[in-house]
């Protein structure tokens, strides 16, 4: 198996600048923030909220690639979203699940309590059972690279279950500050406004 950091490092090398990347809380946000300091990132998506947020964004901007960096514990809190994604079928959406099979493995020296995927649940089978045809499991860098590139080049939705080590034994040095949720909101929304020509920020006030 491979570590989360190894895969995120690979993703940081191949992801195009204009792909909108949404990250779940924990080390998906922490590591990605160190690896890829860019305005097209939305961090800190809390338990159960990463893939739903990516779904809403992909439906709102159907011509823009959206990639969710989710995790097993985060996704299974709102697992029904996989069925919603299958039915709404956004062609521009890729869900990547860093599946380490446990809660809090990203923060502790010992694995936390197991998630459902640490038991019998197979998220690739869940995705396929929900109706996402493009669903796969990868366990090494080469397969990860190949499936990410295929997903970003072809109509989705895509679901990539990345089986990673239970613990984050490696990681990037912390040299950058990951923006807080409000700061990140303004950065991300401002970037989308500028590149998509949509109005997000502003209250409609200011007209007197």
């Amino acid at each position: 198996m491979v570590t989360r950091f190894t895969l995120l490092k690979e993703l940081s090398a191949i992801v195009p600048d204009d792909v909108l990347v949404l990250t779940s809380i924990g080390n998906n946000s922490g590591f990605w923030g160190q690896l890829k300091d860019r305005e097209a990132n939305l961090f800190h998506l809390t338990m159960g909220m990463c893939s739903p947020t990516a779904l809403g964004l992909s439906l709102a901007l159907p011509n823009r690639k959206v990639l969710a960096l989710d995790s097993d514990g985060n996704l299974t809190l709102n697992l029904g979203v996989v069925g919603t994604i299958a039915n709404e079928a956004p062609k521009n959406l890729t869900i990547v699940v860093m599946d380490n099979g446990n809660y809090l493995g990203s923060h502790k020296k010992e694995p936390g309590m197991p998630t459902a995927t640490g038991g019998k649940m197979n998220l690739e089978a869940v995705a396929k059972g929900c109706g996402i045809e493009s669903a796969c499991t990868i366990e090494d860098v080469a397969a990860f690279r190949e499936n990410i590139q295929r997903a970003l080049a072809n109509p989705g939705p895509h679901f990539i279950r990345a089986r990673v080590e239970a613990l984050d034994i490696d990681g990037p040095p912390k040299t950058k500050r990951v923006p807080d949720p409000r700061e990140n909101k303004y950065q991300f929304a401002g970037y989308i406004q500028r590149t998509e020509g949509v109005e997000i920020l502003g209250s409609g006030l200011g007209g007197g």
């Binding site: 949404l22 939305l42 800190h44 998506l45 809390t46 338990m47 159960g48 909220m49 990463c50 893939s51 739903p52 947020t53 990516a54 779904l55 809403g56 964004l57 992909s58 439906l59 709102a60 901007l61 823009r64 709102n78 697992l79 029904g80 979203v81 069925g83 919603t84 039915n87 709404e88 949720p181 409000r182 909101k185 991300f188 929304a189 989308i192 406004q193 998509e196 949509v198 109005e199 997000i200 209250s203 409609g204 006030l205």
Partner: protein, 165 residues
């Protein structure tokens, strides 16, 4: 619920500029959900639970949509964590429309929701308006959506039995 009342809710959403909705169908509001699902101007995403709907609406806002969540009183309880999160951490606007079961005058057993709905909204610091007259539905939805966008936070409209049935 009479179709004419459901139409008032949809009209209110349109006048407010709402163009994206998410939620889980509720027996008392089913006509509204059906109208939204068939409407060409408002995208409706049916989710598996109301917390998921909050995430979907949150994401749609980042794509330039003007979202509303259509939540049952029971569903508000399911959605609370994610609503609190976007309200208090991210400060992102969203209109929340709730057919208010359990208000005074609602004769069924749903008094439970009198105890949870308004106290729950207050606990999450989500402002709301209570509508008891159908004539006020359109205007109130519009005003609450304007406030949500001005204040960068969720704002709720509670439509009680007197207004809807």
């Amino acid at each position: 619920m009479k179709p004419a009342k459901a139409q008032l809710v949809v009209n209110g959403l349109k006048e407010a500029g709402v163009n994206f909705t998410a939620g889980v169908p509720d027996a008392q509001f089913i006509e509204v959900y059906k109208m939204l699902a068939e409407d060409c101007d408002i995208r409706y995403v049916g989710t598996a639970n109301e917390a998921e709907a909050v995430g979907v609406g949150f994401g749609a806002w980042f794509g330039g949509k003007k979202p509303a969540l259509i939540l049952a009183t029971s569903g508000l309880l399911v959605a609370t964590y994610h609503l609190a999160r976007i309200n208090l951490l991210h400060e992102v606007p969203v209109l929340v429309v709730i057919p208010y079961r359990g208000d005074i005058g609602d004769p069924r057993w749903l008094g439970l929701y009198k105890k949870t709905t308004e106290p729950g909204l207050n606990a999450m610091d989500i402002p709301y308006r209570l509508v008891s007259r159908s004539a006020d539905i359109v205007r109130t939805i519009k005003e609450c959506n304007e406030s949500a966008r001005a204040w960068l936070k969720p704002v709720a409209v509670l439509l009680n039995e007197e207004a809807l049935w």
